[in-house]
Amino acid sequence: MADINNGYLLQQLQGRFEADIISADEPYGMLTIEFNKNKIVELLSYLYDHNQLQMQFLTDVCGIHYPDNAGKELGVIYHLHSLQNNLRLRIKCFMPNDAPEIDTVSSVFASANWQERETFDFYGIHFTGHPDLRRILNVDEMDYFPLRKEYPLEDQTRTDKDDTYFGR
């Protein structure tokens, strides 16, 4: 049996999803792939059911915002973990600012439910098919998505603070 490592994992993925892997990299030892967002559920199910890889633990889901990447402004980042092989995988899916939609993976992993709600809450990314996509940490009445880069940390018109030297 082949060693189950990043190389094997990438080879398996390329065998199945050749056209959908946009790029692959290995920063700090974790295989990181940029993936076609339309096939995320298919990818996660494949990894879940793969009888050697057994990537059955979803460690983390979070969003990211690159306002300067035209057409790929918003991203969702998944961290998967195969507890059997102690192998981790990071998957990134990017989408344009004006159509921030991606399929939910909560049908594969129950833990994605709240994490996707959190991502929606902070980045406004819509998870198609999510059972209960509402804001989770912020108030329901909020009309913006605070972790997007265009929102400053605090009101820039404040005059009671002078922190010029600290770059705020």
Partner: protein, 401 residues
Amino acid sequence: MQNNELDLANNPEAKEYTTLNLGPTHPATHGIFQNILTMDGEIIVNAEQTVGYIHRAFEKIAEHRPYYQVTPLTDRLNYCSSPINNMGWHMTVEKLLGVQTPKRVDYLRVIIMELARIADHLVCNSVVGVDIGALTGFTYVFQLRERIYDIFESVCGARLTTNIGRIGGLERDFSNETVKLIKEFLVEFPKVFGEFSNLLERNRIFIDRTVGAGPISAERALNYGFTGPNLRATGVDYDVRVMNPYCSYQDFDFTIPIGKQGDTFDRFMVRQQEMLESLKIIKQAFENLPEGKHFAEVPEFFLPPKEEVYNNMEALIWHFKIVMGEADVPKGEVYHSVEGGNGELGFYLVSDGSRSAYRLHFRRPCFIYYQAYPEMIKGSTISDAIVAMSSMNVIAGELDA
């Protein structure tokens, strides 16, 4: 109401349910959580959770602060074991920078982290006792937690939100006072812990109340992203300290206690055993403490001693650069996780080379596993739901970030 899966054999319309607000500020929830329970008499039919009451926008703040200023934010995640969060963050930055810490730093960190784990588990387990009416154990073991806080205080000056250590090491080596306090603790802990165990572990009333309360299967727990003692109580031996050893954990000899049924009693017992394992680790680290410096050679991140800043030009420059956030950071992205008090605490850090993180995401274990709570308490009584919640060790600060 959403997610209302009424699997009653008879016609659901024929019944009238009671809606009960458990929380947001209820003395039995130990934090600000709201659960809107749908009750059929005494039985919980459905629970709808509301979280976010103490959301403080840590991820947004972290994008605007230099790396060393993120440490105080991590204090306020799981505030029952802040040193683990602090050191997890420091190790994440060290991983990004490629810093190799001296063995002594690792061992000193392990001692502090394991003390924090004991403090965390003591609070959780004694509170399980409180919620079923055994207040004595709680007041008794809190004296021990006080000892642990005394140790933290002698290392870093703070007790609860410790902000302990720095990127690259600890701010100072253990003093004679610290060593004395740790030695006293190592002698005192087994005695008090033994009495606490005697009080509850084989207590008939305690067993009757906790066995079978809020159970979850290993399969569901994994699917829900459980980590830490809650996952181990279901029988899965996943422990970050063993699977991905950080901070020289591979040097120590300890076992991973696991449970079987994933109910409140198993969670309680796993934590009890883990405290003893932590004690073993502390003893080993303490006895084999290597000589050396208490910090790594990263002058661009590790603040020089104050007396040198006043008398040494180079130290003054570094001090100025650190405080003003001028240090260069490599571009890249890194995920690092530590075994926190209640599970895998992860830090996903994206750096664009500037003074602060481009994106920092905290993988907060209890945010992820708390969503399984309705499933765990459906069909049980309120008293079981209360004790199941306290045995899950859900910490509001970590839940809401």
